[in-house]
């Protein structure tokens, strides 16, 4: 087997569209993993697969063979990482499987917040980071400026920054030499008890759960009885192998190697990304560091528009979970929306993707309540309760302080927009941290902001105030006590649970006014005046009225019209049946959807 000194494990960190896939393709081609002739087809296959497998599947992990000028052969394991902030834990696990990372930046667009966040993760993980500017063939390319930005972020000098075009192949050969020359080889102990990191997994309909593993110490042999140190489960290593990129079974993966493992386990949540594998017969004493349970940060109630679809929604969630161990839910009942689930997501993107997949792939029509975060409420007996749904918030009389999760937000922006961003962040109860210039034109701003403000509309506001130029990344920070209240929305005196929200006291009136105003435009006139009120406890903070409709009658109904009018009215009745009754008020489904949409004027 390959001597560890001849192995290089690395990943590529890049913002979306900065050329990660193109570079990966080029590396595959240049190392002969894929024939240039087959290249097009191969790329397409990969894309199909990715689409099929969805969000939790990082693109491929692949084992490349590179021969240097002296004829020495190296094994290069390219480990892909998801690009999005929601999956930063997964990114961190992928990075933990590497000794180095390529920080790939578009020569025209420059450094983006998400790239930066992942680059910091790489630096913190002690990885050798090789900065690379891609797309130098573009007319708009400004590699000198981008090089300055990069060195301002991660240090080093502009000469250390590789300049390539993954598209044309320019500079890629040189980049391979840098990978071999700069990234340290793995340094685990091949004779120690087995320790291997599960850095990714996916569900295969035929094989069950497939784990991507990095062997740190010892050897992972096919047929071993393995112990998963975090879950405590033991499973046989039914098959181990490497990805070339086609799966190729091998007898053993040595220390430093990267490959896959199949145990026959069918349930993805039994295998935890970040877990450490060891030999059940002679286990390691200590697991590898850094394991954490995936932690949902954003919660939303999902309700089928048609109450009969509740079971279908459950089945769809279960199917999605086969490939997405981070997806969590519990049943929730809403007086207004019926039976559904409160679903936890890693972040807003994750929420959007899941909702979209449920609607598109499983043909479900859903109403999603406004996203919420997990609040911590101190109870009178001193215990802490986690509240994920405004409905569950105890009355002020029977609770103590509420605290809310903050995030550390990193915003990269052209310096012209610093003013508007500061204003926005202040309005969102954010706290200004450091501000540093990546270049005279680009600034990195560091803030602490309540997550609830981010999930509400922050991202859209940021984009609109910076003409789309600012990018945002965030990570969980501490919980802080805040003066939070529950605002209820009452229709005709009846609270509508789906519209309740936990908001800061200073924003309560704002929320109430906007929600009641919005609902006034969405709720059709009824046979009587319908007051729409926003209230904190028993105190009304804003009020609107949907005036009673005055005329709803066909002008003429004579002998010639009876059958036709009946048909018309029956059709109208069917339309009304799709409405939800809130007390005696008919509320169209669209009103829930539209009122809960957070992306326009809120």
């Amino acid at each position: 087997m390959t001597n560890q000194a001849r192995i290089r494990n690395f990943s590529i960190i890049a913002h979306i569209d900065h050329g990660k896939s193109t570079l990966a393709d080029r590396l595959l081609e240049m190392t002969g993993a894929v024939d240039a002739r087959d290249m097009r087809e191969q790329v397409l296959d990969t894309m199909d697969l990715e689409r099929e497998r969805g969000i939790t599947i990082k693109a491929q992990t692949v084992r490349l063979t590179h021969r240097d000028e002296g004829g020495e052969e190296y094994v290069l394991n390219l480990i892909d990482t998801p690009g999005h902030v929601d999956f930063s834990y997964e990114v961190s696990r992928s990075l933990a499987a590497c000794e180095g990372a390529l920080l790939l930046v578009d020569a025209a667009q420059g450094v983006q917040a998400q790239t930066l966040a992942n680059a910091y993760l790489a630096v913190e993980a002690g990885l050798e980071v090789i900065p690379v500017i891609n797309k130098i063939d573009l007319i708009a390319a400004d590699p000198d400026r981008v090089a300055t930005e990069i060195t301002n972020v991660i240090g080093g000098s502009a000469e250390d920054v590789a300049r390539i075009s993954a598209k044309t192949g320019e500079g890629v050969e040189g980049l391979l030499q840098r990978v071999v020359g700069l990234i340290p080889p793995p340094s685990g102990d091949p004779e120690a008890p087995l320790r291997a990191l599960v850095f990714d997994s996916y569900y295969d309909a035929y094989r069950g759960v497939v784990c991507y593993v990095r062997v740190v110490d010892g050897r992972l042999r096919s047929g071993f009885k393995l112990k998963f140190m975090a879950t405590g489960e033991t499973h046989d290593a039914a098959e181990v192998g490497v990805l070339t990129p086609a799966a190729k079974p091998v007898n053993v993966l040595e220390a430093g190697a990267v490959g896959y493992l199949i145990t026959g386990v069918k349930e993805i949540d039994r295998i935890k990304v970040g877990d450490t594998l060891t030999d059940a017969g002679s286990p390691a004493l200590e697991a590898l560091a850094g394991y954490a349970e995936p932690k949902p940060m954003v919660f939303s109630g999902l309700f089928p528009t048609d109450g009969d679809d509740f079971e279908r929604l459950r089945e769809a969630l279960e199917k999605l979970r086969l490939n997405d161990g981070s997806l969590m839910w519990e049943p929730e009942t809403s007086r207004a929306l019926g039976f559904g689930f409160r679903v936890g997501f890693l972040g807003l993107l994750h929420m959007e993707i899941v909702r979209e997949r449920l609607e598109r792939e499983y043909d479900l029509d859903l109403v999603a309540t406004a996203p919420s975060v997990a609040y911590r409420v101190t109870m009178p007996d001193g215990t802490i309760r986690e509240i994920k749904s405004p409905q569950d918030l105890p009355d002020p009389g029977s609770r103590g302080d509420i605290s809310e999760p903050y995030v550390r937000a990193m915003i990269l922006t052209p310096s012209d927009y610093v003013g508007p961003i500061m204003e926005l962040v202040t309005a969102k109860r954010g706290e200004m941290g450091n501000m540093s210039y990546l270049s005279p034109e680009r600034v990195e701003l560091d803030y602490r902001i309540p997550l609830s403000e981010i999930v509400f509309d922050f991202f859209d506001l940021l984009k609109s105030r910076t003409k789309g130029y600012a990018s945002l990344d965030y990570e969980a920070d501490e919980y802080r006590t805040a003066d939070l209240v529950k605002v209820d929305i009452l229709l005709n005196g009846q609270p509508v649970d789906a519209f309740s929200a936990i908001v800061h006291r200073d924003k309560a009136t704002d929320y109430g006014t906007k929600m009641t105003g919005r609902l006034r435009g969405l709720i059709p006139r009824q046979m009587f005046d319908v007051p729409i009120q926003a209230a904190i406890g028993g105190r009304i903070i804003s009020r609107e009225t949907v005036k009673a409709k005055r005329k709803d009658v066909i002008a003429k109904c004579y002998g010639g019209d009876v059958t036709r009018k009946k048909k018309l009215l029956t059709k109208q009745k069917e339309g009304k049946k799709r409405m939800k009754m809130v007390g005696s008020v008919e509320v169209p489904q669209e009103a829930f959807v539209a009122a809960l949409r957070v992306d326009d004027d809120m």
């Binding site: 005055r550 709803d552 066909i554 002998g559 059958t563 009946k566 109208q572 009745k573 005696s584």
Partner: protein, 398 residues
């Protein structure tokens, strides 16, 4: 029992269920009004003779019946055709079914083609009630509605009708046309009552799909505003009421004893035959209608076939629902029955009652907010029979 003016006793309105009636459709018009969605044709006058023959043939084809209590010639514009044609139809109805003594024989007329001669000819033909498509006394409204008469033609027409001997004269008005103002509507109502009609129908202008008006509104023309129309309706209620015209149906007012008997029969779920293209009938517990297109109608008749194109049996529970559907538009409402119990026992019925839309008065279910009648109707159409209900044959024609 007071029912908005106290014109009709409930027993009176329900008696009309026993009467039988006939409707005759005359589709011809000089021009088609932009809001109209009836089965009408303009510029097809050369077809009139052939059509009349067709209607005569259709009458002959229909089963002989009891004596008719009322006959209604609607359109289109019956007054647009030679009264001699109408007379042939009326004579055939009389010989085929018979006309009861004192039967009501109505004809619709447009002020644009109605003078002393026509009035006398219609009286001579046997008509005793005339209903004018007056629509408005406001020139701007008439223009917007594409009407071809002026306000003074209405006065002249009514005068001609009275002179010729019509003792039962009605007038249709349309309110809520976007060019109309509150003042012009009041003026129209005052001018209408000044002519002392026996009967007035007031209709909210309705944008019907497929009409030129509908296309104009879709293209951005002003649409009637329902709240404005509600105001105008209330104004009509007041002005007509002060003039001694009581409302006996959502859109119909009359002097006592001058309610439209034909329409009362329809609303009492009485039976009526119908002749002509697009005409609807209710006979033997079945609502059916003729083909709508003139050429298709004539083709069927000329092949010796009855021109029926669709039917809906309304027996058993459906019949009871139908009784409420047609009956609740009347101010007198409907008498007790399983449908009334079902409505009052439903959640929807409860809401309607709480919102003051329906009420039970002296044992009858009445709609107390007529402008929301469709709310009641949607609920009625959704009613399910009580447990154990069987549509037994003997329950037919409830």
């Amino acid at each position: 029992m007071t029912c908005d003016g106290g014109l009709l006793s409930p027993a009176d309105v329900d008696l009309h269920a026993e009467a039988v009636a006939a409707y005759v459709h005359i589709p011809f018009c000089s021009a088609v009004c932009p809001y109209c969605d009836f089965a009408v044709v303009a510029g097809a006058d050369e077809q009139i003779g052939r059509y009349i023959d067709g209607v005569l043939a259709e009458i002959e084809m229909s089963p002989r019946w009891r004596q008719l209590d009322s006959v209604y010639f609607g359109g289109g514009t019956p007054s647009h055709v030679d009264p001699a044609h109408l007379r042939r139809i009326l004579d055939t109805l009389a010989s085929h079914h018979g006309l009861a003594d004192g039967s009501e024989i109505s004809v619709e007329a447009n002020p644009e083609d109605f003078g002393p001669d026509r009035a006398s000819e219609l009286i001579a033909a046997g008509f005793n009630r005339v209903s004018f498509g007056a629509q408005s006394f406001d020139g701007a409204v008439l223009a917007r509605l594409g009407r071809r008469h002026r306000a003074r033609d209405i006065e002249a027409s009514l005068a001609s009708a009275r002179t010729a001997g019509f003792e039962n004269v009605s007038m249709d008005l349309i309110f809520g046309t976007p060019v109309e103002s509150d003042e012009s509507w009041v003026a129209t109502l005052r001018k209408a009552v000044a002519l002392e009609p026996d009967h007035v129908s007031c209709y909210a202008l309705t944008v019907e799909p497929g009409t030129p008006l509908h296309r104009e509104v879709k293209a951005g023309a002003a649409a009637p505003d329902p709240d404005t129309q509600a105001d105008r309706y209330e104004t009509a209620e007041q002005v007509l009421g002060e003039a001694g015209l009581g409302r006996y149906e959502v859109s119909n007012w009359s002097r006592p004893g001058h309610e439209s008997r034909y329409n009362l029969t329809v609303w009492a779920q009485g039976e009526y035959e119908a002749y002509g293209n697009g005409a609807h009938r209710f006979v033997d517990g079945v609502r059916s209608h003729n083909v709508r297109r003139l050429d298709a109608y004539l083709g069927r008749i000329e092949r010796g076939e009855r021109p029926i194109s669709g039917s809906e049996p309304v027996r058993g529970w459906d019949g009871e629902v139908d009784r409420l559907f047609v009956g609740l538009r009347r101010s007198a409402g409907v008498g007790p029955g399983p449908g009334v119990d079902a409505l009052l026992g439903s959640r929807g019925g409860d809401l309607l009652r709480h919102a003051g839309v329906i009420d039970v008065r002296e044992g009858r279910l009445v709609v107390t907010r007529p402008l929301l009648t469709d709310e009641v109707h949607r609920q009625v159409l959704d009613l399910r029979p009580p447990q154990g209900w069987v549509d037994a044959p003997e329950r037919d024609n409830l």
